[in-house]
């Protein structure tokens, strides 16, 4: 307290107090009050103006869209109506008020351009048929210009395949793995296609054909290039080989990469080279050594057409025999006249008697040809009926050009690897042919274990099975590759696959 201050208070009157503050001070609006209204007005005008502009401008999608559409859809980015129907949910995971209407609209919108098949919809239960209709479940757009619409997460697949029996209708139970959740032997199971085995319709010994000269090491009588027709020698000649060299074949001698030969299947994603192996052709791959001829290989070889009806074979053989008789190259049975054909005239004008080769001669020739057929085929598959059936344009090749019916294997992507890594069983053991060829009884493709070494979770270490000898077979290829479902599988399975793969069949219970 300063000197002279007093604590007496008699002079503080109401008048003094009222004078300290303006009695109507609260009526005065301060700057903040006006600032508030000005800012509110500006905000109202700007936000309202922007909203109006966003709704009416030509680039409305840029403002309203939840994100840029993928590059492949960019051309109609500003035409929302191409896919969207007003007030009809279309989103990937939208809450559907009327699922049937919404998803039908979505599916038809996509199929304006994408004519793809559904995913076994015929065998799905009603609830999952709706899921199958929802294209956006896997192909969610508006994720950015560079978003990959076909990069589907494994979860999209496993939501069904982890409980496949409940996804399929009761009378269409699956024959493939019921609970597939990951690409391991335990959680994926062995490849169904391999478990179905080889149909065994063509007998073939891969081991023998991989040997030099097709004989065991050190054995005599091996096939040399000189024993082949000159026109076919280059096909089998290895670099630096002379005509005296033994014929040495490898996988590529017969197996060539191919895509799906069926042009109607192009949307199944298997048209790329390497998805298939070109079908083995007798004329191209076998006939150089295995010419069908009753008299064996030689200058007067008469190659018979492969898979021709037996009546045609008989006629050709009879003609051949008659020709040989007339040119004096052979005599009829019981003919000991020892006639010598005159140059330019043969044996003269033939009579019916001289032309007619005996039935027994022709039959013997046919029987000889039949033995040549049965070297690779069994008796049931060389009947006229079987030949007609296999020769039909719609018939599948006897040797499947693609063994994996449900998954896609890409030979081209694995081209650096030695074929032996997956097809060890096709190679001769210790340079010797097996005592008995079993190729027609087994699928000589390694199981899922040969895949899971590389195709594994990215955070899993490289397994020991890929080191040592396997390292050489891998050929320097990366020892890690994606294990996602879409690496091998495609969703939009063509209806034709459903039929001839036999994976899901009506009325069959799960094994």
């Amino acid at each position: 307290m300063a000197a002279g201050e007093s604590s007496t208070r008699p002079r503080e009157t109401g008048k003094f107090r009222s004078q300290r503050i303006q009695i109507d001070y609260y009526r005065h609006r301060g700057g903040l009050y006006y600032f508030k209204w000005i800012l509110s007005g500006i905000a109202l005008l700007m936000s309202g103006g922007y909203a109006a502009y966003a709704l009416t401008s030509n680039s409305a999608s840029r403002h309203l869209s939840t994100g840029p559409v993928a590059q492949v859809h960019a051309s109609f980015e500003n035409d929302c109506g191409q896919c969207h129907q007003d007030y009809t949910p279309l989103g990937t995971d939208s809450f559907q008020l009327d699922p049937a209407a919404s998803l039908s609209h979505l599916e038809s919108a996509c199929q304006k351009c994408h004519k793809v098949g559904n995913h076994y919809r015929e065998v799905l239960s009603a609830d999952w048929k709706v899921v199958d209709q929802n294209c956006a479940l896997c192909h969610s757009d508006h994720q950015g210009r560079d978003f990959n619409l076909v990069a589907v997460s494994d979860a999209a697949c496993t939501q069904c395949h982890s409980q496949l029996s409940s996804v399929c209708s009761s009378n269409h139970q699956p024959r493939v793995g019921n609970q597939v959740t990951q690409f391991t032997k335990e959680k994926h199971g062995e490849f169904t296609s391999l478990m179905q085995g080889d149909r065994g319709v063509v007998k073939f010994d891969h081991g023998q054909h991989m040997l030099a000269g097709q004989v065991n090491a050190g054995e005599k009588g091996g096939l040399t290039l000189a024993m082949l027709e000159p026109s076919r020698r280059e096909q089998y000649r290895q670099p630096g080989q002379s005509d005296d060299a033994l014929v040495s074949m490898n996988c590529a001698s017969c197996h060539e990469f191919d895509g799906n030969p069926d042009p109607t299947s192009i949307l199944s994603g298997d048209e790329e080279l390497g998805r298939y192996i070109a079908p083995i052709s007798f004329d191209e791959h076998c006939s150089a050594c295995h010419s069908m001829n009753p008299s064996g290989r030689g200058d007067d070889t008469l190659p018979l057409p492969h898979a021709a009806p037996w009546a045609e074979i008989s006629l050709l053989l009879e003609t051949k025999i008659n020709g040989s008789i007339l040119t004096g190259k052979m005599r009829k049975s019981g003919d000991d006249s020892q006639q010598v054909p005159r140059p330019g005239d043969g044996l003269g004008t033939p009579s019916i008697d001289t032309l007619a080769a005996s039935a027994s001669t022709v039959d013997a020739a046919v029987a000889l040809v039949r033995t040549q057929c049965t070297k690779c085929h069994d008796d049931e598959t060389i009947t006229d009926e079987a030949i007609a059936k296999f020769g039909a344009s719609t018939a599948e090749p006897l040797i499947p050009p693609r063994w994996f019916k449900f998954g896609l294997y890409d030979h081209a992507a694995h081209r650096k690897m030695d074929c032996r890594y997956c097809h060890e069983a096709a190679y001769p053991v210790d340079g010797a042919k097996p005592s008995e060829a079993l190729d027609q009884n087994s699928v000589m493709i390694a199981g899922i274990d040969s895949c899971t070494g590389c195709h594994r979770k990215i955070n899993e270490p490289t397994p020991s099975s890929l080191t040592g000898a396997a390292e050489k077979l891998i050929g320097g290829q990366s020892t890690w590759a994606s294990d996602s479902c879409t690496t091998c599988h495609r969703y939009h399975t063509p209806q034709s696959d459903l039929v001839h793969m036999g994976g899901l069949q009506t009325g069959e219970a799960q094994p």
Partner: protein, 322 residues
């Protein structure tokens, strides 16, 4: 609005309600994401529910405006309304983030989201300063007065100072005509004078009126009147005026010199003048703090208005292009 233990009852129900809504919404969303194996969007069942909840909260928040405009209707006590405004507003942000599936989307939803976040942040700022600054002002600005009355009170302080000098020293010779005091003050001049002063009563300190007996200091009339003339611009206009007492340190030195130049009887007058300067300095601080304390509100309201408009546009476009 204060958030303290004493206000727990007011905050408990809306805070609990906000927590339940937030946890339920996020929990549902997480479960749906786990089932789908990816982040689901705003059109999913859980995303839509979170969006509806967040949108409803925004509408509710804006109802605070009519509530204040119609305060005469006494629609629920304002403190409960404010508590719900705060807690539900806070809950709406995570719900909105979940609703948008953790991405901004096009420019309209992105603008909407950004403005919404700014609105929440401005509200949080307001909540923080309202809980911190008033307490600080109570402790550090005992001279605090009504913000709009600072200039008026400052003018009254100059009048007080002048009356004090007239009572103690008599009228200033050269300015007799210009500075005629209030007749009421003149009447009381010889005995005592009432001035605005800082008092402390118990734990509360504040500015009030005080009656002071005036001592005679006529021998220092000239330096005291000159001193008042020098500090008067500061008393009227605060820190914007350039005077010897504008700076606190220089002010101490200046009053010290003035005290040395005057007789001991003038000490009471000089103390009062120094106190008037301190008071004005506190008014300046109060002005600054007042802007910190209240300037966020126009921004918050402006952002809220924009958010509400964009919410309406978003609802319409989202439903149309669902």
């Amino acid at each position: 609005m204060l958030i303290s233990r004493s206000q727990a009852k007011v905050h408990f129900v809306p805070a609990l309600l906000a927590a339940i809504i937030t946890i339920a919404g996020i929990g549902w969303y997480v479960m749906e994401c786990l089932a789908a194996g990816q982040l689901v969007g705003g059109g999913s069942a859980s995303g839509l529910a979170c969006g509806i909840a967040a949108g409803s909260v925004i509408v509710f928040e804006m109802l605070l405006w009519p509530r204040k405009a119609l305060r005469r209707l006494r629609l629920i006590p304002a403190k409960y309304w404010m508590a719900a405004h705060i807690w539900l507003g806070l809950a709406s942000l995570p719900l909105a983030i979940v609703h948008c599936g953790f991405h901004l989307g096009g420019w309209l939803p992105a603008s909407f989201m950004i403005l919404f976040v700014l609105t929440i942040l401005s509200g949080l700022y307001g909540l923080a300063v309202q809980n911190i600054l008033p307490r600080w002002m109570l402790r550090n600005l005992p001279s605090e007065t009504i913000y709009s009355q600072i200039e008026y009170v400052s003018a009254r302080t100059v009048d007080d100072a002048r009356s004090l000098l007239i009572a103690a020293c008599g009228r200033q010779r050269s300015t007799t005509d210009e500075s005629s005091p209030d007749p009421d003050l003149v009447e009381s001049a010889p005995q005592s004078i009432v001035v605005g002063a800082i008092r402390q009563s118990g734990k509360t300190r504040g500015r009030t009126l005080e009656t002071r007996r005036v001592t005679q200091a006529r021998q220092d009339s000239e330096p005291l009147w000159n001193a008042l003339a020098e500090i008067q611009p500061f008393l009227l206009h605060g820190a914007s005026a350039i005077t010897p007492v504008t700076d606190r340190q220089q002010s101490l030195q200046w009053f010290s010199r003035l005290r040395n130049a005057c007789s001991e009887e003038s000490g009471f007058i000089i103390d009062s003048l120094q106190q008037f300067c301190d008071q004005r300095r506190q008014f300046d601080t109060q002005s600054t703090v007042h802007r910190w304390l209240h300037a966020w509100l126009p921004v918050h309201i402006g952002l809220s208005v924009a958010v509400t408009v964009l919410l309406a546009a978003h609802i319409w476009t989202a439903l149309k292009y669902w």
